[in-house]
């Protein structure tokens, strides 16, 4: 897939909607196509967070591991979603595991490359920070609802 094709697909993705063309072009220069078979890990907790994913096909489960309980699914991420924000914040390590529940096809965006570009272009850095902050807010909101355990029986 050519850089131009990456650029076109990214520009049409809701996450990058409204982003300046030169910023999309910058992102497209850091993209690679990746594929994971069912059961493969996209990343593991504690490992260096050096990329994020734009899921294009399939389902990924975000999990944490608890001794005696095993892997606990926190949420699933589907086609169209963006996965991973730890690449943007020190210490640049993954906070969770991410495992392919099905065959997964995704764009991987090189976080190390992008961090360097953000340092040189604060406007790009702000754009990415703003969009990923929204992902984090959404995740926190979901966690808040999950913690409330809303559907439990209450006499």
């Amino acid at each position: 897939m050519s850089v131009e094709t990456f650029e076109k697909i990214l520009a049409e993705h809701p996450f990058f909607e409204g982003m300046r063309a030169e910023h999309v072009a910058t992102l497209a220069g850091c993209v690679s196509n990746v594929k994971f078979d069912q059961g493969d890990y996209l990343f593991r907790e504690g490992q260096p967070a050096d990329r994020f994913y734009v899921v294009r096909f399939g389902r990924v489960t975000v999990e944490t591991f608890a001794p005696t309980r095993g892997s606990i699914a926190i949420e699933t991420v589907d086609a169209g979603d963006v996965l991973g924000w730890s690449w943007l914040f020190p210490p640049y390590k993954w906070h969770f595991d991410a495992r392919a529940m099905t065959l997964v096809r995704a764009f991987a965006l090189d976080g190390v490359c992008l961090r360097g570009k953000c340092e040189r272009d604060p406007a790009l850095g702000y754009e990415l920070m703003r969009r990923f902050a929204q992902v984090i807010v959404s995740r926190l909101e979901a966690t808040q609802l999950q913690l409330l355990d809303l559907y439990v029986s209450q006499p």
Binding site: T61, G70, E75, E141, L145, D149
Partner: protein, 290 residues
């Protein structure tokens, strides 16, 4: 049901559902369906046939000797011969109802309250968002929408349950998923290792659901916190709050707006609801006490 309860139910004599809203009509239990560990469905036969109901309305069900509780009607409005109620056993009355068997009798008053405004959605998309047992009052609306499918645009059901074992109406969900004219997404807050479906709160499904926000009617039912977040998610997508309707649950006792148990500010949930335009009840959602 014990003999004494049979006698008690016989004492509440009526051959048909009474036009007097305070008078209960004994109905025979035709079937009891176990839905989940704590939720069951009663299929009742009203004497003389049902008077019909509109999707979203509720009945007052009376377990003889135990008490009366408000329960949403979960049956098909196109099949009025039976009255179907899906009930979670959480208190003494509903736990007693859980022990009912075919042939036993339950007192019924109703139907009461407002209904889902499905006619407003003709020609538009409809997004149904349900959490937990909130799917039960929405089931009649879904069955109505599917029975009149040609009148509506895209139809989307987003349903969230606590765990895979708590998913209501799995047969319906499988059937609806098999259709090409309805998008069904189910998610759970807590997954078991064998669960292959989505994990996460139901409100997160709104972001990528296939509907046109400018031409959509939203129907939402579930715990009130979930309703608040679901409405916010719909509004973020661009659905005007005037096009969102919600069903509320309160401590309904008389069901006719007299006793005040279900009063919420100026409205009586039993009489003015349980289905409300969201804008009418929005001010109460942020209050710590009404």
């Amino acid at each position: 049901m014990s003999a004494s309860l049979e006698e008690a139910s016989a004492a509440v004599a009526d051959a048909a559902r009474s036009p007097d809203p305070m008078r209960t009509t004994p109905c025979r239990v035709r079937r009891v369906l176990r839905e989940t560990a704590d939720t069951f469905t009663l299929v009742l036969e009203p004497p003389g046939g049902s008077l019909g109901f509109a999707p979203g309305q509720f009945d007052m069900l009376y377990a003889f000797g135990a008490g009366e509780v408000p329960i949403s009607i979960s049956g098909d409005p196109g099949v009025p011969e039976v009255l179907v109620h899906t009930i979670r056993a959480v208190g003494s009355v509903t736990r007693m109802m859980q022990r009912l068997r075919p042939g036993d009798r339950v007192g019924v008053r109703g139907p009461f309250g407002t209904s889902w405004p499905v006619d407003l959605a003709h020609g538009h998309d409809v997004v149904v968002i349900a959490g937990g047992i909130g799917l039960a009052p929405l089931r009649p609306a879904l069955l109505h929408l599917l029975a009149h499918r040609g009148l509506y645009g895209r139809l989307v059901l987003l349903y969230g349950a606590r765990t895979p074992k708590d998913i209501l109406f799995p047969r319906d969900l499988r059937e609806w998923r098999g259709r090409f004219d309805v998008a069904v997404e189910v998610t759970v807050d807590r997954a078991s290792p064998d669960w292959q479906g989505a994990v996460g709160v139901v409100t997160r499904l709104v972001d990528r659901a296939p509907f046109d926000p400018g031409s959509t009617l939203g129907l939402v039912c579930g715990p009130e916190v979930m309703i608040r977040f679901a409405v916010a998610a719909l509004e973020r997508r661009g659905v005007p709050s005037s096009e969102i309707h919600v069903s509320l649950e309160r401590n309904m006792k008389c069901a006719v707006g007299l006793c005040g148990h279900c009063q919420m500010g100026p409205v009586f949930v039993c009489r003015d609801g349980p289905v409300f335009p969201y804008e009418r009840v929005r001010p109460f959602f942020g209050l710590r006490e009404v």
